[in-house]
Amino acid sequence: MTDQTLGRASGPSLKQRRQRAAFWFLAPMLIALFFVAAWPLLRTIWFSFTDATLSNLYDAEWIGFDNYLQTRELSSGRVVYRGTLVDPAWWNAVWNTVRFSFVSVFFETIFGLIVALVMNAEFKGRSLVRAAILIPWAIPTIVSAKMWSWMLNDQFGILNDILLNLGLISHRIAWTATPETAMTAVLIVDIWKTTPFMALLILAGLQMVPRDIYEAARIDGIHPVKVFFRVTLPLIKPAVMVAVIFRMLDALRIFDLVYVLTPNSAATKTMSVISRENMIDFDKFAYGAAQSTLLFAIIAVFVSLYIWLGRVDLGGERR
């Protein structure tokens, strides 16, 4: 590698000196990351085993797994279970998050592929398309949530107006307020906002497919659809897999869009939303910490499974 060739050029101690310098170069970053990531994570996990409240952070007592699952036998002999793991509100949030993540990432991948294929073609106005799709990506999530909640407004929203004019609906729908449509509303906004990111990642993969493959397929008279499924898709699969995992991780932790677009709706409340609500708003700090610990565990398991099953090379660095 680099250092060996260099090392031979100017003495054997060079490599050691460089490694020592590398240590000092990395130290500040590692210390910073320790204080903002590792330490808070460990403290969150610790809090989840205590009875801490917002006003009583420091004198919290260790209560073991009681925030997760707690059994108590009543005097009548009946056993009562309490804790997050038997909390229907928590399982509702888990279900909402999982449903949201899979549906949104599924559609984002399909639409992202379509947009990427369009942008990979040579045509007039290609840069216009790229500029246009960067706009949803650049708009802050909170702003897009507000823009869309105005468009989805039941009385004055433009979406209801369009659908009424097209005759697709017979009465105005309160998209964000009705439990049946609240999740759809969140999905629409999320798909709109993040498809560009997906498209750009897939496009980067597409641009690495050598053009002469298409040329050869065209000369052989192979149908473009067949070329797509047999040649293009297998070649861009690594890029797609990486894009999917990035998006999936983002979707599993979703907070801001749900919090602003459909406040206090049980139909959309996700794991992040319910954890924060318990932690800060309901003053059940430790209980919320237990829920966020569970979310962390779920995401960790998911990532390991995905990397293991899909053999995804996240670093893009093959050895």
């Binding site: 050029a9 990531a37 708009i139 929203g157 907070f255 919090y259 990532v303 893009g316």
Partner: protein, 276 residues
Amino acid sequence: MSHPLIKTIGFYALVAVIVVFAVFPFYYAIVTSFSSGTALFQVNYWPKSFNWVNYETVMGNRNFVRSIVNSVFIAGCTVAFALFLAVTAAYALSRVSFRGRGLLLMTILAVSMFPQIAVLAGLFELVRFLGIFNTPWAMILSYTIFTLPFTVWVLTTFMRDLPVEIEEAAIVDGATPWVIVTKVFLPLLWPALVTTGLLAFIGAWNEFLFALTFTSSESMRTVPVAIALLSGASQQEIPWGPIMAASVIVTVPLIVLVLIFQRKIVAGLTAGGVKG
């Protein structure tokens, strides 16, 4: 096969659908932000009036103006801090081979994809302990969790692609690694620093969860929190006009920056995942 003209028309129809879908919500926000009074409550597909009253309302709101100042300060400090630490770290990670480098890189990538809620309780305690609750420093500290890993990662991929010869001459001359980073690499890094900095700035500008949790007074809010909690004269009445005006104000600079740097941004965004 079908007629080539039909194919072309179909293709451009698809292009048009994509562009309209992408742009329309923002266009509609602009249209709404210029309507007031009863015009606000009619669905207008085209701008009917140009009324600056919503912008006057928003910019007359001292707390909103303050939140813009807060956001610029917080995002600026966060980015400066992250880049400062990331340049040397990225040099070590990309140009020096040592044991555990791959693992370290994976850890850094993992931190950047952390669910932020998982550190919220611990950070809350830390912020309280340091006495920086409800100050910009709480956000500058907490945003480091996503800006720092991201900048390190992108700068590492960028530096890895620079040729060996750049360093060789300096090493033969006996330059220390510190001199190599500051005198040889830094001048070459400016384009990458601008891109990475811009992306990190956008991330910090848009963050919501920490900003919502670590602020309590209206004058300390950042832009996303201010917009999310912007309320009207009464509880029932949502001030859609001013909200749209505020949205346009904080989004237009971002869009302008993104469009100016679009090639570099696309390269920076994709540097993380898809390489090879």
